[in-house]
């Protein structure tokens, strides 16, 4: 049973969602030698760069066309072409991904003039960072395939798979790669953002080069986790199977993902995979009595919150409230299904904000809160421990490296929750 709270308020206070260009920047930086170019005021580029740099603790390269009043009057198109030229001369990237902004979309700038670069239409007033990521992967695929000699690639499908990772962390992608290589499965990550967690004195490097992106049409299947479905659908038209699953968060969701990979590639679930599953379960059983019946509230992006809810229920926690900042029928429907299946009562907030959640939690206290660092105001005021997952986490270190996906992710999250509760539990 669920109770749905959906208020179309004119005022949002602490909404946990970003605009599309954050997604464009993340997806683009996951492609080797690719550069995002934000077509708008210089603030847009600076904001995204600053936020990502504080989360990933890495230098982030984002170019801008730096439009202002005078330049708009002269026409943004000219400025955009100039910017592309300038970026090429300076760092000669393999790929430039142009993202439009509120400014250029509202004045109706004609970005059609750009022929040799990818343009993603990403005004802030439509969609969120999740859509930005999805749109970028799709546009990159479309552009590269359109501009390539397809005959070079149209041979028999190889035993490899594509994974559209969605808006996750380098730690998550690393865990996906680890599990897949333990399954002896070749993969193409769309895109490989482990490039945002590099050793010292090493430049950004990604396994996903533009050649690899192109090879994705030659894979057996594309896996999407609710985010990036359109890219999966697009690749389907080239005979690549499309499998849309839940995020592999929690033991069951990870099992399902790996079983599906096994079914499609014919690669068996290897002993190493079984071992890391058992390894995780060993830790999970050890903390199970701490997590049992603990009340939890979860907030964030639709698909991740759904999978995190599965994880929490798996651990025998009581999910009291789930919140997402966007309007989403899927979110409500899925939560309804989960609640009925597990015979629990969940308060579901869609199109909402963290202030609303805060007010709710005052009357309905929980033991732990799961979400990004923006939950800190609730956590501090109500003295509820916050399990930091996702993006952004600017007030702690190393969280971009900690996965929530896969067996490592479950173990990390469960143990961290147990440690957060340890003071209370052990007195």
């Amino acid at each position: 049973m669920i109770s749905v709270y959906s208020e179309n308020s004119p005022l949002k206070v602490n909404p946990p969602k970003m605009c599309q260009i954050a997604g464009v920047a993340l997806a683009t930086l996951g492609i080797d030698r690719a550069i995002p170019l934000i077509h708008g005021s210089q603030g847009c580029a600076n904001f995204v760069k600053h936020l990502m740099s504080r989360h990933f603790k890495e230098p982030i390269e984002v170019a801008t066309t730096a439009l202002n009043e005078k330049l708009i009057a002269a026409g943004g198109e000219k400025r955009l072409l100039e910017a592309i030229e300038n970026v090429r001369n300076r760092i000669n990237p393999d790929l430039i991904v142009v993202a439009t902004t509120c400014l250029t979309e509202t004045i109706g700038d004609n970005v059609g003039v750009v022929r040799d670069c990818i343009v993603v239409r990403t005004p802030s007033y439509a969609g969120t960072h999740v859509n930005g990521f999805e749109n970028t992967v799709l546009e990159v695929l479309k552009f590269l395939i359109k501009n390539s000699n397809l005959r070079d690639y149209e041979f028999e499908k190889e035993e490899k798979i594509n994974v559209v990772t969605g808006f996750v962390n380098p730690g998550d992608v690393r865990e996906l790669k680890r599990l897949l290589s333990h399954m002896n499965t070749e993969y193409i990550m769309l895109t490989d953002i482990t490039s945002l967690d590099m050793p010292i004195m090493k430049k950004r490097k990604s396994e996903t080069t533009i050649t690899r992106v192109l090879e994705s049409i030659n894979a057996k299947a594309t896996f999407t986790f609710g985010e990036g479905i359109s890219s999966g659908k697009f690749l389907e038209s080239f005979g690549v199977m499309h499998r849309n699953l839940k995020f592999p968060i929690g033991i069951e969701n990870t099992d399902k993902f790996l079983l599906e990979v096994s079914r499609i590639t014919g690669n068996e679930i290897s002993d190493r995979v079984v071992e890391s599953r058992m390894y995780a379960l060993d830790g999970l059983i050890d903390v199970s009595h701490v997590l049992r019946r603990k009340k939890v509230a979860i907030f964030g992006d639709v698909e991740k919150v759904i999978a995190l809810t599965d994880f929490a229920l798996e651990m025998g926690m009581k999910v009291k409230a789930v919140l997402t900042a966007v309007k989403s029928v899927r979110f409500v429907e899925e939560m309804k299904y989960i609640a009925e299946k597990n015979k629990v009562k969940i308060a579901v907030f869609e199109n909402s904000d963290l202030y609303t959640l805060h007010k709710f939690l005052k009357d309905n206290p929980v033991d732990v809160l799961i979400g990004d660092y923006r939950g800190r105001y609730i956590a501090e005021k109500e003295k509820i421990p916050l399990l930091r997952v996702g993006f952004p986490i600017c007030d702690r270190f190393g969280y971009h490296r900690k996965p929530m996906i896969g067996y490592s992710g479950v173990l990390r999250m469960a143990e961290e929750i147990a440690n957060l509760l340890a003071g209370k539990h052990f007195g």
């Binding site: 210089q42 603030g43 509120c102």
Partner: protein, 407 residues
């Protein structure tokens, strides 16, 4: 990257560290005014990214979260409802409304809405027309913030308070705490620090000061100029970073006000003795400074006092420097910064969090010029500063990054 003194225009395709006027207004100047609802009239992006932009910032994010329909039909009605709801729910001293690119382009009349909201609630509502496309950089946003706030404090009934000052252009809470204490010691009362820890009440009281002290002239000299024109309050550009700078500034203030500077300087002389001891560790080390503008200039002298040499300066908005013979560049981009660091190979990079990870990745010691847990202004701050600088060179970890296994 050009060696120019004036703020040059950002070129197309730059990887600039500059922000837009909205950032200058919302984050730099206004963001730290307490008990004010900072309502960003925008789609989610601008509001989200400016939320706690500074590492030490803590506050809520208020936004009208404009969607496509709002952009098509205009957001004035939504904005008014949002202001009224915010006042009802949070009971603030004032509401600051910030315009952004989208709401600026569609022409929402935020001034009229602010006026209407004020009439309805009697809570001051200030509208800032700081859309990101206005002006060349965030510096223009500072100007918008200052002029809008000036219009708000413009008060005919000025009652000067003897021996009182405003600290204008200090946006660092830790610095302002030290400076307020220091000025109290010399017998001067600080009415308002603009804007670190400022409140609406303190800002309203600003007109009663006898003298304005301008810390960051790039961002807020406009306000001091306006106050001089309207109320005849003189202003002084001061620099409290470094021992000598701090002494000089205090003596210059004492020319205007009744201040007991000698005793305080004498009391602080032990600090100079301590920091002089650090010189042997730091002598000859080369520093590269990368800051907005004013702070870059302010850091030259304190480093020299520690025996270090400034090898180069990069700014975001350009500065005027007369007696400096090193390299000075404006509108530094992240790629150019890497190039410059490689070329100059400094022993230390001084900047803020924007540049931190570029330096870290290159394994060059990094020093946050805005202060970490402590402020760096005043005598006390100079000691904190010297300790932090020495601390970096004491950290073996920086040298371990250069370890060569072949040896």
């Amino acid at each position: 990257m050009e060696s120019l003194e004036r703020c040059i225009e950002t070129r197309a395709g730059d990887f600039t560290e500059r922000g837009c006027s909205f950032l200058g207004c919302r984050v730099v100047v206004c963001g730290q005014i307490n008990n004010v609802v900072h309502l960003v009239h925008s789609p989610i992006g601008c509001a989200y990214y400016s939320w706690d932009y500074r590492m030490d910032a803590r506050g809520y994010c208020f936004t009208t979260d404009m969607d496509e329909m709002d952009i098509v039909f205009g957001g004035e009605e939504k904005l008014l409802k949002a202001i009224l709801k915010a006042i009802d729910e949070f009971n603030p001293d004032a509401v600051f409304v910030y315009e952004t690119c989208s709401t600026g382009i569609i022409g929402d009349d935020i001034q009229a809405i602010a006026k209407k909201a004020y009439e309805l609630t009697n809570v001051p509502v200030i509208a800032f027309q700081c859309a990101g496309f206005r002006g060349r950089s965030q510096n223009f946003g500072h100007k918008i913030a200052c002029t809008s706030i000036f219009r708000f404090i413009n008060n005919e009934n000025r009652k000067p308070i003897p021996n009182s000052v405003n600290l204008i252009g200090d946006f660092n809470k830790k610095d302002s705490k030290i400076l307020e204490k220091l000025l109290n010691e010399v017998g001067i009362r600080v009415l308002c620090t603009f804007t670190a820890n400022a409140t609406i009440e303190k800002i309203r009281n600003m007109v009663n000061a006898e003298l304005n002290l301008v810390m960051c002239s790039k961002s807020s000299a406009f306000l001091a100029e306006l106050m001089e024109e309207s109320f005849g309050i003189p202003y002084l550009e001061v620099n409290f970073f470094g021992f000598e700078n701090c002494c000089n500034s205090l003596y210059r203030i004492s020319e205007y006000l009744d201040a007991n500077v000698e005793r305080v300087v004498e009391d602080a002389s032990w600090i100079k003795m301590v920091t002089d001891k650090y010189r042997e560790k730091l002598e000859g080390k080369r520093v590269f400074i990368c800051h907005g503008a004013q702070r870059a200039v302010y850091w030259i002298k304190p480093f020299e006092e520690l025996g270090m040499k400034v090898a180069g300066i990069a700014t975001h908005f350009g500065i005027e420097l007369s007696d400096f013979d090193g390299l000075v560049v404006d509108n530094i981009s992240s790629d150019e910064l890497e190039e410059l660091i490689a070329k100059l190979s400094p022993d230390l990079i001084v900047s803020d969090d924007k540049v931190r990870h570029i330096a870290h990745k290159m394994a060059v010691p990094f020093f946050n010029g805005r202060g970490q847990n402590t402020g760096y202004a005043g005598f006390e701050g100079f000691l904190n500063f010297a300790k932090d600088v020495v601390g970096i060179f004491d950290q073996k970890i920086w040298r371990l990054t250069r370890y060569d296994f072949s040896l």
